[in-house]
């Protein structure tokens, strides 16, 4: 069980680092928006799975799952809102 938790945490850290490097590598703000979704879904999912494995089905785990759902849902809404704002302000300049 501990090995699975360690592997999930390592995977989460690795995906967060990949996201950060992609954020630096990608040029436009529209491309960088994809990094947020990647980090939210992959790193957040791995951390939530590690929490579920570590704590079992407790209230704490359910709270973690709720936080992850909020982060993913809010991330999607924010990506849309930010992309719309960028399109209104920067779309005409490109």
């Amino acid at each position: 069980m501990n090995a699975a938790v360690d592997a999930l945490l390592a995977f989460a850290v690795l995906s967060a680092w990949i996201g950060a490097l992609a954020f630096l590598r990608l040029r436009t703000s529209f491309e960088r928006l994809h990094v947020i979704t990647f980090v939210n879904v992959v790193a957040g999912g791995a951390i939530t799975a590690a929490a579920a494995l570590s704590g079992g089905m407790s209230a704490r785990t359910l709270q973690c799952i709720f936080v992850w759902i909020v982060v993913v849902t809010a991330g999607a809404l924010l990506s849309h809102a930010i992309a719309r704002a960028l399109h209104m302000r920067e779309g005409a300049r490109r």
């Binding site: 501990n2 989460a12 954020f23 957040g44 936080v67 809010a74 924010l78 930010i82």
Partner: protein
């Protein structure tokens, strides 16, 4: 050192990169960096909750996750209309 503490410490430089990116580049790029930094902060609070066994940190993570939506929406609206 537990795996949770190691994961939290390994995630801190990623958050640092995102925070540095909030101060560089165009206004749109900064807004995207703010959203990324907020997401990473929520994940870090969850990790440190398990690392230090402080269940109250999860409430902080939930509050940040819930407040990030209206906060960043206001920033996006500000960017869309006035910046």
């Amino acid at each position: 050192m537990t795996a949770w503490i190691a994961a939290g410490l390994a995630l801190l430089p990623v958050l640092g990169l995102a925070v540095i990116a909030t101060g560089r580049g165009t206004a749109g790029g900064r807004l995207v960096a703010v959203a990324l930094a907020t997401s990473l902060s929520v994940l870090l609070l969850v990790v440190f909750d398990f690392a230090f066994d402080q269940p109250s940190s999860l409430d902080l993570a939930m509050a940040l996750a819930l407040l990030a939506l209206p906060g960043t929406l206001v920033l996006a609206l500000f960017q869309e209309r006035w910046l």
